[in-house]
Symmetry: C2
């Protein structure tokens, strides 16, 4: 048992209490614990969690100190939601599509297959989505903030050529969540393998394919060494919103200026994380193609069409028995249609004209 | 002469001084003046300037108060740069492509024809661009921050059909800056008409065409009533970064926590402004098409190709005698090429697959 985990179990106030003490100048000081769904220092998401904590500390002049713990240190990566909901930690850094078991509506605030891209997600949250997210998470004593987006991912790394829908049949692929549900309906076998085990599972043939993040994080894992083809685009996770969770009583205990600081620092991450991923994915893609001669392949239209049609079935089934989830899904679809019509005369033709 | 302008000329410290007073609790308090390049309350950009000021006020618990003045109140819209450079105001809200006369490098930090879109601009600034921008503006005693992006604009409103490059010849169009330079080389006549005068100039036939912003701001001006065609995409301004300028001595006088607050609040605007424009442009486009039966037309490929080739000539000429501007242009091009290669396997095929 790690020292940190022992502190947790002993209920150490040093590590976990929302300490509040008056300083010499009379200002109340707070010390929060942040638990994250990523390993400590994980490039991209782990470093973003630390940057958020650092920013809050600097902007508050040390009045709100946030101690960051990687997934597995205090609580497991997939226990972040419960830990912050219960107040074991005051803050969490994770993604809403991990919490489908809590609510069928949750994935729509993270990412769903064929859902919103980064620009559309941020716009939807500002214009209707955040209010729905707050309504959902209030049930769990949580206040949610969006703290960035990882952009469109890759479809994944494959040792089987995908020429048509038939090639998905029997495919053993590491692909979690709703993307896995979609593939399963098309005859594939989603396999649950942690990130650290993907390399050897691909190498040994235990897996035929896997999806992880994008060029930046995938390059670091060396997946290109054990997979023949790299497929795009990432239909399964087209724009993952990263979330900052706050335990509601801890939030309400903050004075107004510290609440405004937390809100601004979370909002600051919105553009910065996407900027990081855009720049780093661009650099990593070049390395993959030029240095490692990775063969990039677009999924065939027939496959993308089948994935999209099946996604509609999966999402309809997901929200079928949950009126709130249905409302969220419908709101997101309506927004997507309007945003897509605008992007069809702005972003899309601009990419084409300047390619 | 307005009361505000008189205060300026009299050097009223109330309106303009970076007042600093110690409060009862010993914390120093600051009061700044922000001048903007937009009319007070101008939907989108003017409201964003006010939101930035409000956010800073709230996050600092009133220790840094920023009073916002619309363009023309204290100084003219195009005097913002000079006013903040001289310290007449501590803060400005504008766009770097307005300041081409100060430096040939400036437009690259705002927008240039066929340049970076919003996602690419934010990424470039985080990964190299901001350092160059800071280097340039330091010459003018200014500290720059990016505070949002308006996204790809429309190409404009036309009363002449554009079927080929020949149709640009003799076209009298309101299109400022480098976009106007490009059109002039193709035989058009860029005309300088302020925003408020565009409607009547189109109506009377004094103008054949004009470009303004995008559906949201253009709908408010009613341009669709006096123009036959709405062309896209906005090759001339594909992703305008909005800037917050700070007078360097005022910046250095702030304690570290207030500097961190200003930085976080500026960064918060980065995603929020784009989110606003994305959502509002989407809604306004629907109104234009469904309620006002606006005819949307894509510029023909031959025209876009000519505009792009001519843009390269114009930008090369712009930086030809300014080694720093050349360095900025080259850095931006290198980044664009890498980002475009990544977006060619992520954003672009995702838009196609989910259209």
């Amino acid at each position: 048992m790690s020292l940190k985990r022992r502190q947790l179990l002993l209920g150490s106030t040093l590590a976990l209490g929302a300490c509040s003490a008056a300083d010499g100048d009379g200002a109340r000081r707070f010390r929060w614990t942040m638990v994250t769904a990523w390993p400590a220092g994980f490039a991209g998401l782990g470093t973003a969690a630390q940057r958020l904590a650092d920013r809050i500390g600097a902007a508050s002049g040390g009045r709100l100190r946030v101690d960051v713990h990687g997934g597995g240190e205090l609580v497991g990566p997939f226990d972040v939601f419960d830990a912050v909901s219960r107040g074991t930690a005051q803050m969490g850094h994770s993604a809403a599509h991990f919490w489908q078991a809590k609510s069928a509506a949750a994935p729509f605030f993270g990412t769903v297959p064929f859902g919103l891209n980064a620009q559309e997600s941020a716009a939807w949250l500002e214009h209707g989505g955040l209010a729905l997210w707050q309504e959902l998470y209030a049930r769990f004593d949580l206040v949610p903030f969006a703290v960035g987006n990882t952009g469109v991912q890759l479809a994944g790394w494959f040792n089987r050529e995908i020429l048509g829908v038939d090639d998905l049949r029997g495919l053993r692929m590491r692909i979690p969540g709703l993307g896995g549900d979609v593939l399963a309906r098309l005859g594939a076998t989603p396999v649950n393998v942690p990130g650290a085990g993907m390399y050897s599972a691909l190498e040994s043939g235990a897996l035929d394919a896997c999806e992880w993040m994008g060029p930046f994080n995938d390059l670091a894992l060396g997946l290109f060494r054990v997979a023949k083809y790299c497929y795009y685009p990432g239909w399964q996770e087209p724009g993952s919103t990263i979330e900052c969770l706050i335990h509601r009583p801890a939030w309400l205990a903050l004075p107004a200026d510290l609440r405004a600081i937390v809100e601004a620092c979370c909002a600051a991450e919105q553009a910065q994380l996407l900027a990081d991923y855009t720049a780093r994915n661009a650099t990593a893609l070049r390395t993959l193609v030029e240095d490692h001669r990775v063969e990039l392949r677009r999924l065939p239209d027939s496959v993308l069409q089948a994935l999209r049609a099946t996604t509609a079935t999966v999402l309809d089934a997901l929200v079928a028995h949950d009126p709130f989830a249905r409302r969220v899904y419908d709101a997101q679809c309506a927004f997507r249609d309007a945003a897509r019509a605008w992007h069809a005369v702005s972003e899309v033709p601009y990419y084409q004209a300047s390619a």
